[in-house]
């Protein structure tokens, strides 16, 4: 993996840890996902305030499932550096 990084760094003239860039890329998807989850939940709550408890519970569920993708991106460097 580090060899690929070195080649990429030499080609672009970028210095520093490309893992940080990779994590930035990995965070795009979960970012969009969490935005969708919260956006639609707030819309649903505004439309039907009486259904708020069940919406909030499902909102946190969807949030947790999206969030774990970003967190896996955080974990992966520790797995591959070993």
């Amino acid at each position: 993996m580090s060899a690929a990084f070195e080649i990429a760094a030499a080609a672009t003239g970028v210095k520093g840890n490309l893992g940080a860039v990779a994590y930035g890329l990995a965070a795009i998807g979960p970012g969009v996902g969490i935005g969708l989850v919260f956006g639609h939940s707030i819309e649903a709550m505004a439309r039907q305030p009486e259904a708020m408890p069940i919406i909030r519970q499902n909102m946190f569920l969807g949030f947790a499932l999206c969030e774990v993708l970003a967190l896996l991106g955080l974990v992966v460097p520790f797995i591959f550096s070993a």
Binding site: P53, I54, Q57, F60, L61, F63, A64, E67, V68, L71, L72, L74, V75
Partner: protein
Amino acid sequence: MSNPSTTAIIASGCHITPSGCGFPAPGLNSFNFKPIFSIGSFDFTKPMLLALICMLLVVGFFWAAFRKPKLVPGKLQLVGEIGYNFIARNIAREVIGKKGDKFVPFLTSIFFFVWLMNIMSIIPLAQFPVASRFAYPVALALLVWITYMYLTFKTHGFAGGWKHLTYMEGLPKPLVPLIVFLEFLQNVITRPFTLAVRLWANMFAGHMLIVMFSVATWYLLTPSIMAAFSGASFVLAIGMTAFEVLIQFLQAYIFTLLASLYISGALEESH
């Protein structure tokens, strides 16, 4: 007992000017502690001490609250009942339904244990989230996983249990092997893994953020107008601490919510 990297930074008096030393970025060494004492090759470290304290606090609090339950609750019993009812109504009853009543003690202990372990992150002198050492969330997730597996096989029997874990009705024939494989991966392996990783990585990242801004506050502190950056960093450290309070509660809630979701999945009739 204190953190080796942080003490090293404070002792070295490392600032951006005039010595111009590089930024001592906090890393994995912020999570390793010198053992308080050792028995043979077994090292007793600060996270273990904090986990023990949390366990004693949870057991002690609920024992004190419900030791002599009265019809008209006293102050301590009232607080205990609020905590218990929060889990019973918002999580167990809503997710599992009526069958969930007997799992409320299990879920309550998990919730308060995880929450206390997370809160240790911002308590002065403790200031370390126990769950940011991977073994602690893994142990909790294993507990949930064993409960999940036991309930699945108890409700559906051995063959029915495997069918419940891996099979879906109404699939086109060619897709069946693929879906069975994916469902097995999802239900048996990914679920406990993500349950542990979610708690661990949240606490890890949160602690790292607070350490990062605290170290930066000290590093940028210089006798010039640049000290304003140090002040900004300090404000951010306080802000991150406040944000962590929210995250800590949320993670304990999500952990319990997912545990109850798995339990309800194991209990429901096969479809």
